[in-house]
Subunit: 515 residues, 2 copies
């Protein structure tokens, strides 16, 4: 058959033309239509996009949503609801919004309420200030692409306070559609070169799969460095050296990404470790990306959040004037958990001014980050002060959320570690546990026979039998031959206990079944 598609017979994709296409074409030919497949199909779409994977919302979550629907349609299951412990989605887990934040947002959305005496004065004052900074005094106007100037000023002051006075320049702050947006934008700027000169980006294993997904999309080279599970997921400089040295054989390593507190691993890095990483970045001439979205989520005794910016500046001008860095923060985590607003920012340090101009140009193409998210961020970095009417309630709500998280972090570690075959590092920070699970050889064999990775097989079985949705460790990366899952500690305490018990029972049952 003479066929339009043969035009592209010399493309890199044509060899992969599938039986499906041929069927498509034959059907069309039978209908008397020109013999052509879809303009856009799996074989001729962007190959980088095909390589993207994002486990946190992957196959297991698709199945969880299906089961949810089946339950609603009255299908009988051994459980009455699906508990989605796969993602750090605080409000979905029942955490209540912080009153002050939502009052100001309502005032910004509908300024007629500024006359309402139900709202405290400080919430009105904050709303007025935000509205005055908006075009036409409306959050419905575009903002400047870098974000509203007075909010960037507030962010800079917040960072200065956090870092005991180390100065922050509002011009170095870029507001974003959540931290994810800023991270992808920064990676995009950094990627160039072909073949052996292609940009390599160092990421931890286990990692948060936004990184691997963005690198696949950008066709950058992913350089894995492994965290040390036996030392509470700590970061070892010798391992960084090993990884970068090996990578220099086949790519151009230019970036190191660190997540602190860790996702999915929950560790909080020591000041010493951060210093070592900064020294390493300087020695190896790497751009440092510090994902610090869990900076307020630190629970463990003796642990403290140290910002990369602060350590960098405390190391003196040899470092503070040379090491190029971006730090990321978000409104989705910490005590507020406002994921749906997609608020966040990055601070860039020592960035070449010409590159900064390019960054500003790049973000302008998408016009601006969502203004409600910008407004929310402003409240997070500029919360009620002790002399203001909303202070007491705000502090009470904030403290309650963080105290509950700390309790749940302890509980999780404690219960999992009583189960033979589950070992769990302390959840020092962030919102997840990443316990190691021992799987019987028979289960591993069964999974492989079914074409599944063993921890996916385990998690799917847990989902089908108990209605609990976790993410398999393979979605984050793990050392060959080890298996894990990620679970958020966000469910309310009683529900979390229930979930932990259900998983424990399942694990014992699973082990017996495959022994």
């Amino acid at each position: 058959i003479s066929c339009y598609l043969s035009r592209s017979a010399n493309t890199q994709f044509s060899v992969r033309r599938s039986a499906r296409d041929i069927t498509n074409m034959s059907q069309q030919a039978a209908n008397g239509l020109p013999c052509r497949g879809k303009v856009l199909n799996l074989d001729n779409m962007n190959p980088n996009v095909r390589r993207v994977e994002y486990a946190v919302r992957g196959a297991i979550v698709q199945r969880a949503l299906q089961i949810d629907k089946e339950l609603k349609e009255g299908v009988k299951k051994p459980f009455t609801e699906v508990i989605k412990a796969n993602i750090g989605d605080a409000h979905a887990m029942g955490q209540k919004p912080i009153t002050f934040l939502r009052q100001v947002l309502a005032l910004c959305a509908y300024p007629d309420l500024l006359d309402d005496n139900k709202f405290p004065d400080d919430s009105k004052q904050r709303a007025r200030r935000i509205l005055e900074a908006c075009g036409g005094h409306s959050i419905g106007a575009y903002s400047s692409s870098q974000g509203i100037e007075c909010i960037r000023q507030d962010v800079a002051r917040y960072i200065e306070k956090r870092d005991d006075g180390i100065s922050s320049d509002p011009d170095n702050i870029y507001l974003a559609t959540g931290a994810s947006d800023a991270i992808v934008t920064m990676l995009k700027l950094l990627v160039c070169g072909k073949g052996r000169d292609r940009t390599g980006v160092m990421i931890s294993i286990p990692q948060y799969p936004l990184y691997s997904a963005a690198l696949a999309d950008l066709a950058a080279v992913q350089i894995n460095y492994y965290l040390d599970e036996d030392k509470c997921w700590s970061l070892d400089i010798a391992e960084l050296k090993r990884a970068v040295t090996a990578a220099r054989q086949h790519c151009n390593p230019r970036v190191i990404c660190i997540i602190n507190p860790g996702n999915p691993t929950g560790q909080v890095q020591s000041r010493q470790c951060i210093e070592d990483v900064i020294r390493f970045a300087k020695e190896e001439h790497l751009f440092l990306m510090a994902d610090e979205v869990y900076q307020d989520n630190v629970y463990a005794e003796g642990c403290k959040f140290h910002s990369f910016k602060r350590v960098l500046f405390e190391m003196g001008p040899e470092y503070s004037t040379t090491v190029e860095m971006a730090s990321f923060h978000s409104t989705s985590k910490c005590y507020m958990g406002e994921c749906g607003f997609r608020g966040g920012y990055m601070e860039v340090i020592n960035m070449d001014p010409e590159v900064k101009a390019q960054l500003t140009k790049l973000v302008s193409v998408r016009l601006c980050p969502p203004v409600p998210g910008q407004a929310l961020l402003d409240l997070v970095v500029n919360p009620p002060q002790p002399d203001e009417p909303s202070y007491d309630k705000f502090m009470k709500e904030r403290t309650a959320v963080l105290a509950a998280l700390a309790e749940k972090a302890g509980l999780t570690e404690q219960i999992f570690n009583t189960v033979p075959g589950i070992t769990c590092n302390p959840v020092q920070g962030a919102m997840y546990t990443f316990p190691r699970i021992t799987l019987p050889q028979k289960a591993i064999d069964k999974a492989k026979a079914e074409g599944q990775v063993p921890d996916m097989f385990y998690c799917m079985k847990l989902l089908e039998e108990e209605g609990i949705c976790l993410v398999p460790g393979s979605g984050f990366g793990q050392r060959e031959g080890t298996f894990h899952f990620r679970m958020t500690i966000l469910p309310p305490t009683e529900k979390l206990k229930f979930v932990l018990q259900k998983i424990s029972d399942f694990h014992i049952r699973f082990t017996q079944e495959f022994s």
Copy 2:
């Protein structure tokens, strides 16, 4: 000097190393530091990003912001404010938000207000419905990546009603962070191949520069087809044929993008023209992207918005079952003008189910579109009905906005066409005029001598002398030797008259000065 940077001496960028780098390196060497430039500089950053241009927020807007600051600092100018007529930012131009939309958004942000009898019942009912569809009944929870299901259902029903019953499947609707986000995502899916097999994308000239920016970022091939200024910016199929035929010599044309009503050109396409485009897309085996964000902004007598979807289905199954298409809509334009919320959607038609699964995966990496923007979209597609308490006020506000825009569209054409050297097509729809300006040869020569494109020179002079910010036609593309600018018609009527007069006077003065 032996230098770290020489490692990458064989990259494609090293040849462009600039004097600046050398200076950087020498300075560092003098300080006793290792001789290395920035990790990230203009020469080794992503070359695609460097090629991106976005005139709507380009150099002229940067200068406008500076002038704004100078005015605030008390610098004397021949004007007291900068009027930013460069962008379709309705609220910034003084348009008031629609009450109903903002009431519901306030209720969603702060559900305590659901007890407040100040809010009409239908606004409460809408807010409750949205909240019930959110995780934990909070707009602070992540939504599904494709967008909240009941909102996608509402969008589908809205499309069905718009298209007189042609069915729409909620599974084909993807909510997005403004239409821009959806357009970029769709283009990203479509781009593949190398060299002569690289994906080519047909865009109109003049175009909205989001398209050229996204194509530069994706390193796709931009294929220009010219609109016919002499025929009110209409689209000529012969011109499409010319463009695609020429392009096949050097790339693989796979996509055609259409903006209707037009941006920046304000034309509204006839039903016949849309049919011709669909036939062309089918014949040439192109994916059709229909940017229809101005679908409610149609002003001219005898003009009507015809959706590509509807025309496609009215052409019968030969077309409706084969032509692959995506249509885009937004909450930023029409009567609501809520740009800051970044709401929008796309509907995909005849998309390969496997590609759809890839699309769903791709959007999941960014978690979800901002939920306040999704909520807003729900209200736009599901506005108050005649039997509901908010209906009268809603309709009054909506009609007033659209009537004022229609008046301003007429006014703009009329006033500009009285000025010798300015010719202006009717503003049939959208929010812009794109008049042609005749520039004296002396002005063209002067601009070239100063290294500026002539219409940038003109617009910069207008900005400095009158405080009016327009975008030069070169930012959108125009036929060689012609010059234009884009101006939004959004300023309030009296201010618009003032602006039109100022530009007219300036044009006459400019022409005299350079004659």
